[in-house]
């Protein structure tokens, strides 16, 4: 990969993982590396950029997807997927270089942490997974009707899918909506299958009557089990950062 030609182009893709894998396929065939890769949703026109719009091709992305599993390793796929979910401006180009170099040297790529893009991909994955893990504990469902729950979150990274899947395996018979208010996306699960939909004009449902009572009970429980002598706000904030507090029911 080191002697591949660097072309002065900016690739624009649709912001999906399949779109990014299509770019990887095109680069691998043409043996070129683009200057930048940007998401079409937040691209601002710039007359110095030599832009190329990349159409997502599921056949190409499938081949790269299988290629990563067979020729590099499963861990590389996880690394690139979770890095892709993170909120970083240059994630795409780093993931591209990581996968392409991975095709050259195989599973050994994950040990080369001193290469800057490998390190960045690893770090982005860590950030996304860490946030996902925190929200698994800090997400608060509110009851809307008998079997439907609603939860709002404000995450930095786009972790709706892994988070939602976690709750599907925990509460398989429940129907729920997880609302990512920062990105205006909703994870909707109806008890059988899930879908991620845009929620720009969604009205937040009103909660059931019991909900308020249970919220009061939860607050009471939270205050009762607290040991005042052992309060340690600094430690508490490491585990539940203040930016997530607005979606909590209790007030720490």
């Amino acid at each position: 990969m080191s002697n591949w030609k660097l072309v002065n182009r900016t690739y624009i893709y649709d912001g999906t993982f399949d779109g990014l894998l299509t770019i990887v396929f095109n680069c691998y065939i043409a043996k070129t590396l683009p200057q930048k890769i940007v998401n079409s949703n937040n691209y601002v026109e710039n007359f110095l950029d030599n832009t190329v719009l990349i159409q997502t091709d599921y056949e190409k992305s499938k081949r790269i997807f299988d290629g990563i599993v067979n020729n590099i390793c499963k861990e590389a796929l996880y690394n690139s997927y979770y890095a892709f979910l993170s909120n970083d401006k240059e994630k795409e180009i780093n993931i591209l270089k990581y996968i392409l170099n991975g095709f050259d040297i195989g599973p050994e790529i994950n040990n080369k942490i001193t290469i800057s893009y490998v390190f960045k991909v690893m770090n982005l994955r860590k950030k996304a997974l860490a946030e996902c893990h925190k929200l698994k504990g800090l997400l608060r469902f509110r009851e809307v009707s008998d079997n439907l729950c609603y939860a709002s979150i404000h995450p930095d990274n786009n972790i709706l899918e892994p988070l939602g899947k976690h709750f599907i395996s925990r509460l398989p018979s429940m129907q729920f909506i997880i609302h990512d208010k920062n990105k205006d996306l909703c994870f909707v699960y109806n008890g059988k299958e899930y879908r991620i939909i845009n929620s720009k004009n969604m009205t937040i449902p009103s909660f059931s009557e019991d909900e308020i009572k249970y919220q009061e009970l939860w607050k009471l429980f939270f205050n009762t089990i607290a040991i005042r002598e052992r309060s340690n706000p600094r430690c508490q904030m490491q585990f539940m950062p203040k930016k997530y507090w607005k979606d909590l029911i209790e007030e720490p």
Binding site: N111, K112, I113, T114, S116, F119, I227, E229, R230, N232
Partner: protein, 271 residues
């Protein structure tokens, strides 16, 4: 399963929990640990696991006069002989007034923290209690953590060369833990590491920089390898990171009110 010992010696048990007895606690614990072992060995006979989450216990810190050395000795033997998953330490909070109970203003949280740090050193870092504490130092240092304290008393084992040391030697460097040590071992298979590379790996050098060399070189800004120098620097760092309400930034204006003397000086004109 948790069978709580609560107090770390027989005398203390007699004093504060006369219904408990050392033998009466250790007997069921031994039974549980033996049953777990038998269950693991004979998987064909026992389809279901016995106590799958393992066995734990709890000790109360600060209610009785035991030293850290005695408490840790007990937990070490519990880990070695009874294969406990964990020993929990909880700082004593005074609720009742009894002549046998001490009156503490606040629970000894720092001591609890030090014990947990040492507990981790026992379980994951290959330390032994005799290395950390002895009869002359039965309690932990309040300013430095147990590993730093140990390293300062064993400076002959340092500095450690990052590119050559094995896993357990890396683990003994203050500021380098299990994750960092594994990262270093993983990364140095490909190229030898220098301080820049360590920073890139996300390894904090705050404490480690005094105890390591990379490719034979000492950290640039640390120019001396001697006990006094390292200790003062470490203590200084720790003091800075500790919240200390007694000290605050002085301002030239808000606190300095003119005294009577100042007024007199102004009047007489010899300020």
């Amino acid at each position: 399963m948790s069978i709580n010992i609560e107090l770390p010696s027989n005398d203390s048990l007699k004093l504060l929990a006369p219904q408990k007895e050392k033998a009466g606690i250790l007997k069921p614990m031994t039974y549980v640990s033996n049953s777990i072992k038998i269950n693991k060995l004979d998987k064909n006979r026992f389809k279901e696991k016995f106590v799958p989450a393992g066995q734990t216990t709890q000790l109360i810190i600060g209610a009785t006069p035991e030293s850290d050395l005695k408490i840790l000795k007990l937990s070490e033997s519990l880990y070695n002989k009874l294969n406990l998953k964990r020993v929990y330490y909880s700082a004593y909070i005074s609720i009742n007034n009894d002549k046998n109970l001490p009156t503490l203003e606040s629970p000894p949280l720092l001591r609890e923290n030090r014990l947990y740090q040492a507990d981790w050193l026992l379980r994951f870092y290959g330390f032994k209690v005799d290395e950390l504490l002895d009869e002359n130092h039965p309690n932990f240092n309040t300013i430095l953590d147990p590993k730093c304290d140990w390293a300062l008393r064993h400076l002959d084992k340092f500095p450690v060369e990052i590119n050559k040391a094995d896993y357990f030697t890396l683990l003994k460097i203050p500021g380098i833990g299990v994750i960092s040590a594994k990262k270093i071992i993983r990364a140095r298979r490909n190229c030898s590491l220098d301080f820049e590379a360590l920073k890139k790996l996300g390894i904090t050098l705050k404490r480690a920089k005094y105890f390591i060399t990379c490719k034979g070189k000492y950290f640039e800004k640390v120019y001396k390898f001697n006990e006094n120098f390292i200790e003062t620097n470490l203590v200084y760092q720790e003091r800075n990171s500790m919240p200390n309400p007694e000290f605050h930034q002085l301002s030239l204006f808000d606190k300095l009110q003119p005294t009577k003397e100042d007024e007199l000086k102004c009047l007489t004109g010899n300020l």
